[in-house]
């Protein structure tokens, strides 16, 4: 029985044997999954927040090694802790948010680097964590990306109405009974999960780029929020494929190549704006 099943899947198996095919599937899958999330990061002006969460992933790696936890669990736990700390510090109103983010972002990154340096008994591939190693993606990683990705997308669709209304105006959302605080918290958990999953693929320094650049590119062509979310997924998928083929062709590092491909798409999308009247640019100055 087992042999029959195996024979049926032989061709698919052989395809997945190729590391480049696995990388391609992982990159495209991840980009499609993070497209809608990236839109919310852009709309809610959370790009620096996303950066802070992903920088904290290195601290998560260090903690996971120290406590002998699975990496994904360590990264997720630290990312959640950092975002909850930020909410707490914000409520204290002692420092402006950008200063708080700067403190959290760089101190968690530095702490992570220090802890990883202490762990002399394990060979840690620091570059792999910082810039990703999508070519080393295993079948298990693929299963996590597609399974987890679909689950996260389902959760995002579930909170979509509440989160979008809260993005337009949290007071309207609350007055009309849409529980904006709850969806904001759930969105943070989604972000932490994405970072934990994407770390291996593009590295913690480039995750935010994968979230923001396709969404920013999609803005130019989108007429509605859902439209922009779908476009961001498609553009991200194209960038992932183009970046990986580019890295194969020019022998460049794969994670940065994907981001460069996304950047090229973004720049191409801005070309028509150069010929339009400045006042008609829908996204001028708002992508910082």
């Amino acid at each position: 029985m087992g042999t029959i099943v195996r024979a049926k899947h032989k061709s698919a198996n052989r395809m997945l044997d190729d590391f480049f095919t696995r990388a391609l599937l992982a990159g495209i899958g991840l980009a499609i999954m993070v497209g809608p999330m990236g839109c919310f990061v852009v709309w809610r002006r959370m790009s620096y927040f996303g950066d802070t969460m992903s920088h904290s992933a290195l601290l998560g790696v260090g903690v996971a090694f120290l406590l002998e936890l699975p990496l994904v669990a360590g990264v997720f736990a630290i990312a959640v802790t950092v975002s909850l700390s930020l909410l707490f510090l914000q409520s204290r109103n002692a420092l402006p948010t950008d200063a708080l983010l700067g403190i959290l972002s760089h101190s968690t990154l530095a702490l992570g680097l220090v802890i990883v340096a202490f762990i002399s008994w394990i060979q840690v591939d620091l570059m792999g964590f910082l810039f990703g190693d999508i070519l080393a993606v295993s079948r298990t990683d693929l299963a996590i990306i597609y399974g987890g990705g679909l689950a996260l997308l389902a959760v995002l669709i579930w909170i979509w109405r509440s989160l979008l209304t809260a993005t337009v105006n949290p007071e309207i959302a609350q007055a009309e009974g849409l529980k904006p605080e709850r969806s904001k918290l759930i969105f943070m958990l989604i972000m932490a999960s994405v970072i934990a999953m994407a770390m291996k693929l593009v590295g913690i320094l480039l995750i935010t780029a994968l979230l923001i650049i396709p969404a920013a590119t999609a803005r130019r062509f989108a007429s509605g929020p859902e439209h922009m979310a779908v476009l961001a997924s498609l553009i991200g998928g194209v960038a992932a494929a183009a970046g990986l083929f580019g890295s194969l062709r020019f022998d460049t590092p794969s994670g940065p190549s994907i981001v460069v491909a996304a950047l090229i798409l973004f720049l191409l999308s801005q070309v028509p704006a150069l010929f339009a009247k400045p006042s008609q640019r829908p996204n001028d100055g708002a992508l910082s």
């Binding site: 109405r161 337009v168 105006n169 007055a175 009309e176 007429s223 509605g224 708002a286």
Partner: protein
């Protein structure tokens, strides 16, 4: 202060002795008001008098630090906040703005936009609307769900005079048609809608409550709100039993001057035009 006009209908929401404190300072204190179905209640008062804070307490965005806020169980609210900036990175048509918190048919959307006078803007991007068009779109968004109460925080800001009159007419029309209660905040002391059933003057607390009458300026009212108010119509006739002096102190009807005024400090009297319940 329990200075509310009591109607025969059960109120949609009632604030009793409600106050909000932030860092040892009372933003607003001792607010009593209620809104009944079909009633239009207007809050007026100078800057910083706690109008928006009171509205936020009423819709449940802020929990009162003292006093109570009772809302009818299952009360549905249509809210237009004072400030609403939609990020330019968010593509949003007027149609999608109206369907943010629930789904509606094209017919319902068309009807709501027709009612507020912008039927042609259904597919326009909200960032391209003028101030007046945007306020109308927000009003359409708040009313499309046919809520029990509309809470409108300065709904006519950025609207020219003619548009202001039209919007006030529209709010009245919505009230007449749907029978919803309306809690309206107006920063413009000159212009309170004629259909208002109850006007509440706030100045950190409820100064006075009454029915509007478009008559010449009440001298006490003018003294409270400054010279500018005297050049326009006073919104209603009422008698203040105390005056807020320019230095922030309060002169009472019996001539005494105190640093603050409280309804139960013994300086307040029953005014003829006020429907205040007697205090001990």
């Amino acid at each position: 202060m329990d200075a509310t006009v009591h109607t025969s209908l059960r109120p949609l929401l009632t604030l009793t002795g409600a106050g909000i404190q932030r860092q040892d300072r009372w933003l607003v204190r001792n607010v009593g008001l209620s809104v009944a179905p079909g009633e239009i209640v207007t809050l007026i008062g100078p800057n910083g008098s706690g109008k928006s804070t009171t509205a936020k307490m009423a819709v449940g965005l802020l929990e009162p630090d003292e006093g109570t806020c009772e809302r009818m169980p299952g009360l549905s609210v249509g809210y237009v906040p004072q400030k609403l900036n939609i990020d330019r990175t968010l593509p949003l048509t007027v149609k999608r703005l109206l369907t943010l918190s629930a789904r509606y048919s094209d017919a319902q959307i068309g009807e709501a936009l027709f009612a507020v006078g912008i039927p042609d803007l259904v597919d326009a991007q909200v960032q391209h609307l003028s101030g007046g068009e945007f306020q109308r779109a927000l009003l359409a968004r708040a009313m499309i769900a046919k809520p029990d109460i509309l809470v409108l925080d300065e709904p006519v800001q950025g609207v020219d005079f003619a548009g202001e009159v039209a919007l006030y007419d529209l709010i009245q029309e919505i009230r007449d048609k749907t029978g919803c209660g309306v809690l309206l905040i107006s920063h413009d002391l000159h212009m309170v809608m004629a259909a208002t059933d109850t006007v509440i003057c706030l100045n950190g607390h409820v100064c006075c409550t009454g029915t509007p009458e478009v008559v010449s300026a009440d001298p006490e009212y003018v003294r409270l709100f400054g010279q500018r108010a005297s050049e326009a119509l006073a919104v209603y006739r009422h008698k203040h039993d105390h005056v807020h002096l320019p230095d922030g102190r309060v002169q009472h009807a019996d001539g005494t001057i105190t640093d603050h005024c409280h309804p139960d400090d013994g300086h307040h009297r029953e005014g003829e035009a006020q429907e205040r319940e007697p205090h001990a």
